[in-house]
């Protein structure tokens, strides 16, 4: 259902969009509160400052709201991931398009993270840590995240076991 038949890449569960929107609504409310407080300061300034900073604040707020409103649609539409026997491959991005490849052989640690909003929708993020940094597959179904984590842990453990036997 969530798999691209041609490339084998998997897409996110549509619930991810809702989770993103709720997160963005909270972010928008926080930003509007900050902007409201900032406007209080700006309103007390001299006319030339007030006009310019007011317009600047308005433009910035509009840009952030548009980004938060459109972002989840674009992010969801572009998000693809595939996990093969030896690599984790993620394609994502709203403005900057990213293609990330992590060899499973380099993975040190696998972690499933469930934030409060994701938890409401039965979603989780999967974080993989290598010696060079972290990569993340976001908004996975809980069971999918657990299953991938188990698979990755099994592969990583078998690699370590193999090395210990060699040693």
């Amino acid at each position: 259902m969530n798999e691209d038949q041609n490339s084998g890449y998997r897409r996110l569960n549509p619930k991810a969009r809702v989770s993103m929107y709720i997160g963005n609504i909270i972010a928008a409310v926080i930003w509007l509160a900050i902007a409201y407080i900032a406007w209080g300061f700006i309103d007390g300034m001299s006319e030339s400052f007030r006009d310019l900073l007011g317009i600047g604040l308005l433009v910035l707020t509009a840009a952030i709201i548009v980004y938060l409103a459109v972002g989840p649609l674009v992010y969801y539409a572009r998000y693809r991931y595939i996990i093969t026997d030896d690599a984790i491959d993620i394609r994502k991005g709203i403005v900057i398009l990213r293609h990330i490849v992590v060899p499973i052989e380099r993975v040190h640690q696998v972690e499933v993270v469930r934030g409060p909003i994701n938890n409401l929708f039965g979603l989780a993020d999967l974080q993989v840590t290598t010696a060079g940094g972290q990569a993340e597959i976001e908004y996975l179904d809980n069971d999918v995240a657990d299953s991938i984590a188990d698979d990755l842990n099994r592969i990583v453990n078998s690699i370590v076991r193999g090395r210990n036997e060699d040693a």
Binding site: I96, L97, H99, I100, V101, A131, G132
Partner: protein, 482 residues
């Protein structure tokens, strides 16, 4: 006779330096709380004795020993620890002699492993009498690399390049970032300028001089002292480095521990036809140092090539391709965006300040000067960025060259790439271009290296090659490529 077959303790002389440190700290503490407490002295004295007694117990209960396969450090009192480091995991063994060590006749052996967690802190640090330290290092070299030659024998080996102390001075002077150098010169010029105008009694000059001393002179002197008497040579598969005027550094590591090398050419170094060579070997950077390990201090390019050829020939890389013409458009647009943003910002500032408090002519000149300077810098940077960046792929290694002012050529092993990421801003993506960000384990923890703008499919070949080597067995964690 192998020294580490039986458990050995730190040199008892280490207690002297610890006692001095404890006395110093307690003296500072007692002076600072003297006003607050009526009779702190007995408490302080008791605490001092307690700390010293614990230090003696720590010394007595901490031991180091070696088996055929691993190095073991043990401690037990109140709590117990047993640290086991297999020889196969050891990245380097360093012998360091600080000024304190010289006075006490001791040396510190530091054992480092290839680990992201402890990339700048030694896994095991042990203090021995100087001669014992040399013998221990020789023994560890024998156990790890199979080539046990003594410190006396090491003096016989000649450095691959006969470095002079003039090279050390040049490295200290011009091996630092050009931007840092310019910043210091600018602050000094500001100080002198203010002094000449005579507006503030020369206080700015003093500030400029202090900034110069702190930001430039002290690190410069530190670099010169650190890389004094620099020597590099290879014996079998082991690379040996020794340098230092006050604090002596003697380091050895296997060549297959080198994750990547970096030919660094600062602006002045390029003008002199010189370069320095850095490397990424996890464990060679000490926490109090925070500098990339140097394989070759500043010298002629021909010498740099010779060191690479003799120490790490697999990192030799001559060819690289320039960015495609389409990349020029991306660099150009970056300059246009920067200039446009500066125009908007400068205009806003001028509009706000144009309330009669500032002279209009000054505002006008300020606007033109700011926008003009940023525009020139942006377009020159874009042009240089387009021209300088190179990218190349070899059999075992690949190369990125970058740097608008200070130029760097980074040659990296496919087999040490942890994460390879391609990313593209909208314009670059529309032109089919991307940049590649490679994340590796460096001597100072995780580090990233970024390429210029190249066709996406060209950069994807790096990701494919990393995976292909794992799949077809060319990557073997035991031999680590070479």
């Amino acid at each position: 006779m192998r020294m580490l077959e039986e458990p050995v303790r730190n040199s008892p002389r280490v207690l002297i330096s610890h006692f001095i440190l404890i006395l110093f700290i307690m003296a500072v503490v007692s002076l600072s709380i003297a006003d607050m407490m009526t009779a702190p002295l007995p408490v302080i004295a008791a605490l001092t004795v307690l700390l010293m007694a614990y230090d003696v117990v720590w010394w007595k209960r901490t031991t180091l020993r070696a088996t055929d396969t691993e190095l073991i450090r043990e401690y037990s009192f109140l709590y117990s620890t047993r640290k086991v480091v297999p020889y196969s995991k050891i990245a380097s063994v360093n012998v360091i002699r600080t000024a304190f060590d010289r006075v006490l006749g001791t040396a510190t052996i530091q054992v480092n492993i290839n680990s992201a967690v402890n990339s700048t802190a030694p896994e095991i640090s042990f203090v021995f009498d100087k001669d014992t330290a040399d013998a221990v290092r020789t023994e560890l070299s024998g156990r790890m690399y199979g080539n046990a030659h003594t410190a006396q024998e090491e003096h016989i080996y000649e450095s691959i390049i006969p470095f002079t102390n003039r090279d050390s001075i040049l490295h200290g002077l011009f091996g630092t970032s050009t931007w840092a150098l310019l910043g210091v010169i600018a602050s000094l010029a500001l100080g002198i300028g203010t002094e000449l105008i005579g507006s503030r009694q020369g206080s700015e000059l003093l500030v400029g001089m202090v900034v110069l001393a702190v930001m430039f002179l002290l690190p410069l002197i530190g670099m010169i002292i650190k890389y004094y008497n620099f020597k590099v040579y290879r014996f079998g598969d082991t690379v040996y480095l020794s340098h230092g005027a006050i604090r002596l550094y003697r380091t050895s590591f296997k060549i297959n521990r080198i994750n990547s090398i970096r030919i660094k050419r600062t602006l002045i170094a390029r003008m002199m036809g010189k370069a320095s060579l850095e490397m990424e070997v996890v464990g060679l950077t000490s926490a109090d140092d925070e500098q990339r390990p140097v394989l070759c201090i500043m010298t002629d390019m021909e010498n740099i090539r010779k060191v690479i050829r003799e120490v790490a020939p697999f990192f030799e890389f001559e060819e690289g391709v320039v960015q495609p013409k389409a990349a020029g458009k991306v660099w150009l647009m970056k300059a246009v965006y920067t200039t446009a943003a500066t125009v908007v910002l400068a205009s806003v500032i001028c509009y706000v300040l144009n309330d009669g408090s500032v002279d209009r002519a000054l505002l006008r000149y300020g606007w033109f000067a700011t926008v003009g300077a940023v525009a020139v810098l942006s377009f020159v940077s874009a042009y240089r960025g387009y021209k300088v960046d190179l990218f190349g792929m070899g059999e075992d290694v690949f190369m990125f060259q970058y740097g608008i002012v200070d130029r760097c050529m980074s040659v990296m092993q496919y087999d040490r790439v942890q994460i390879a990421e391609l990313y593209a801003w909208p314009l670059a993506a529309r032109l089919g271009l991307a940049r590649c960000q490679v994340r590796m384990l460096s001597s100072m923890g995780a580090a990233t290296t970024v390429s210029g703008y190249y066709p996406r499919e060209d950069l994807e070949r790096i990701q494919e090659e990393v995976m292909a080597r794992i799949r077809d067995g060319r990557y073997d964690y035991r031999k680590l490529s070479f």
